[in-house]
């Protein structure tokens, strides 16, 4: 039994190794136990399971701990400016629609400085997959409040408790027009992997929000313990969509509804534009 488990573990880590950038000195900048690593392996497995060519994948990001990911992975890597990954990615995808574009972003990156690009990428329904790693705080700059910091929670810029309200990235994306919206956590890794796979396969804008841990700042400042304690806490607080639908708002307080939350068939931006081009050029060029 244990040798079988070991063999399986080895296979899984071999897959990861195939996707790390050759000639790149490890380690990453991430703290030991940070959820970013778990999300990275889920993305790798999703891409691997889909059999995508590395040459065809563009991974774009903004600035933040989470946004360092493209530097480590052997895809076409576009590490841009804070909050702007989706705007850069829109240029890539629209210029070269045959490329698979995955954006990795943090809650601050996507929803604060990048909020405008986020809602408009959703609205256009451009075929980009966005993995939003939500750790409820700014990690890279040392633990300041973010648009997903819960009310009353502590951060270095909310030393007396957060007076602001939280964004719900999934609700925001759906309202803005995204045609695929899902949520996972760094505890539920097989589900997360599957969700990311589905998101990449989906034609249109897809958002996968991942509840993740920044134990270094959020955990410490809010007395939520170390990485393992925080990740276990996600297990206790996650509720699958089907179950959540039978629960009252009262019962759902402080919980994370996980799974595929919204999916619809909708025309995609590049496709619509290409139709116009075909019409104008008599089908010669697209």
């Amino acid at each position: 039994m244990s040798t079988v488990v070991k063999e399986k573990d080895k296979q899984r880590s071999d897959v990861i190794l195939q996707y790390l950038r050759p000639r790149k000195a490890m380690p990453t900048v991430w703290c030991a136990g940070c959820g970013n690593g778990i999300v990275m392996s889920a993305i790798i497995r999703a891409v691997d399971n889909l059999g995508l060519s590395k040459d065809n994948v563009v991974m774009a990001s903004g600035i933040g701990c989470s946004s360092r990911m493209p530097i480590y992975l052997d895809f076409n890597a576009l590490h841009t400016t804070h909050g702007r990954a989706l705007a850069f990615a829109t240029g890539v995808k629209f210029a070269r629609p045959e490329l698979k574009v995955i954006v990795v972003t943090g809650d601050g990156d996507a929803l604060a400085i990048g909020g405008n690009h986020f809602i408009h990428a959703c609205r256009r329904n451009i075929d980009i997959t966005t993995v939003l790693i939500n750790n409820n705080i700014y990690g890279m700059t040392g633990g300041q409040g973010s648009p997903t910091t819960p009310a009353h929670a502590f951060s270095t810029t909310t030393p007396f408790g957060n007076a602001e309200k939280q964004f719900d990235p999934c609700g925001l994306a759906q309202a803005a027009g995204a045609s695929f919206v899902g949520r996972g956590t760094v505890y539920h890794t097989p589900q997360l992997e599957k969700l990311i796979m589905q998101a990449i396969e989906h034609r249109g804008f897809s958002l996968v929000e991942v509840i993740s841990n920044c134990h270094t700042y959020f955990g410490r400042l809010n007395k939520q313990g170390d990485a393992v304690t925080m990740i276990n806490d996600f297990k206790d607080r996650a509720v699958p969509l089907a179950k959540a639908q039978k629960m009252t708002p009262e019962e759902l307080k402080g919980k994370y509804v996980i799974g595929l939350l919204h999916k619809e068939e909708k025309t995609e931006f590049c496709d619509v534009y290409d139709d116009t081009v075909k019409h104008l050029t008599g089908g010669k060029q697209a």
């Binding site: 890597a77 705007a87 829109t90 240029g91 629209f94 210029a95 405008n116 060029q285």
Partner: protein
């Protein structure tokens, strides 16, 4: 040979036609007076030739999308005006750092802030060099007629591709919005430069290699050369670095790939300079007035000449020094409180007097005003 067609177009439309002539197939922008007709022209023309136009949510997104498209291998541009250019500068800095060709048209308006949307100005001249934070070396060009707007746009794309650098085209409202009848060059008449692509096997590829001329071959995303494109200071492979022995060479490369090849970038026009004792130095719409003022002065017997700057950045130090070497006095006319005059002063020997004629009330400098200034300084 068939007689060439003559067309009546405005400056902003000449940008669109020049860009398409140069191979531009991707435009991302956000409307702002007085640049909007560039966006409108691209929206109309690009899909007809298989190109792509997108109106982004703001100027930050516009320049970002244009850079993303260029990294994907498509020549791209954006157009804006003062406040929009201010919003773009962080990402223009990103294009410098990642060595991405992209063309930015700034049809200048008066500032600061939203300033004068429909009035002429040349007050973004310094910003085109010093907009982004950090020690970048900029390329900026400035046409003065509708025909030149076409040819300078083509040249801007060639420079962007040749030097792997953002290039700003500084128009002013008078050039952007006035119309002239022009005969445009035929396809093939003007040279078109395309970025050099790598030919080595992907395993040997170094995205920011120190080549002989300091410009590295640039693959498109999807070509099979996977590399890291980051705004963080990086080594020749694109990996982020904090090592002094890698930081300095990178910054050296960014600067010297441009300043060491300045002769390829600098372009000036000089009229009556052979025996000129007094010279006008100007650019954009003022250069046109200066040419006229020069011929008026010549007819009156004064030894006056004119130097027109097509290349603003890098500043043509040597060339101006040479052209003006026999002059006693130089008059710099500008539609701002004096930006290029400081550069002219810097490059000329102290025995040449440099006088400025500056207008910053939203109106043009007329030939007669320049003539009057001559009479005053003579």
């Amino acid at each position: 040979m068939a007689k060439k067609e003559r067309v009546l177009i405005m400056g902003n439309h000449a940008c669109v036609l020049g860009a398409i002539y140069a191979g531009m197939r991707f435009y991302a922008g956000y409307p702002i007076t007085p640049s909007t007709e560039v966006a409108e022209g691209c929206a109309r023309e690009l899909p007809k030739i298989g190109g792509r136009f997108i109106q982004m949510e703001d100027e930050i997104g516009s320049i970002a999308a244009a850079i993303g498209a260029s990294i994907s291998g498509v020549k791209s541009m954006t157009a804006t005006s003062g406040p929009g250019y201010s919003l773009m500068v962080e990402n223009i800095g990103y294009a410098y750092m990642t060595e991405t060709p992209v063309v930015i048209i700034n049809v200048q308006r008066g500032g600061p802030s939203t300033g004068l949307p429909t009035k002429v100005s040349q007050s973004d001249t310094m910003q085109a060099q010093w907009g982004p934070h950090g020690d970048n070396t900029a390329i900026a060009v400035a046409p003065s007629t509708i025909y030149e707007t076409f040819t300078e746009t083509v040249r801007a794309f060639n420079l962007a591709e040749r030097f792997r650098s953002p290039v700003t085209i500084l128009l002013d409202e008078v050039i952007g919005h006035s119309r002239q009848v022009v005969t445009l060059p035929d396809p093939g008449e003007l040279e078109i430069f395309n970025r050099t692509k790598p030919t080595c096997p992907p395993e040997e590829f170094e995205a920011f290699a120190m080549t002989e001329n300091l410009v590295s071959p640039m693959p498109a995303f999807g070509d099979g050369y996977r590399y890291v494109c980051t705004g963080l200071t990086h080594d020749t492979r694109g990996f982020t670095t904090n090592r002094p022995d890698e930081i300095a060479p990178k910054l050296h490369k960014l600067r010297h790939k441009i300043v060491d090849y300045k002769e390829e970038i600098v372009k000036l026009r000089d009229e009556y300079m052979d025996d000129a004792e007094i010279a006008f130095v100007s650019y954009g719409s003022v250069a046109r007035a200066a040419l006229q003022a020069t011929s008026i002065a010549r007819k009156a017997g004064a030894k006056v000449g004119a130097v027109q700057l097509f290349t603003i950045w890098p500043f043509p130090d040597e060339q101006i020094r040479q052209l003006c070497s026999r002059c006693r006095k130089v008059v710099v006319g500008e539609l701002n409180m004096g930006q290029i005059i400081h550069e002219v002063r810097r490059v000329l020997p102290p025995d040449i007097e440099v006088h400025g004629l500056q207008r910053f009330d939203g109106e043009i400098l007329t030939p007669m005003q320049l003539v009057e200034k001559l009479e005053e300084v003579i």
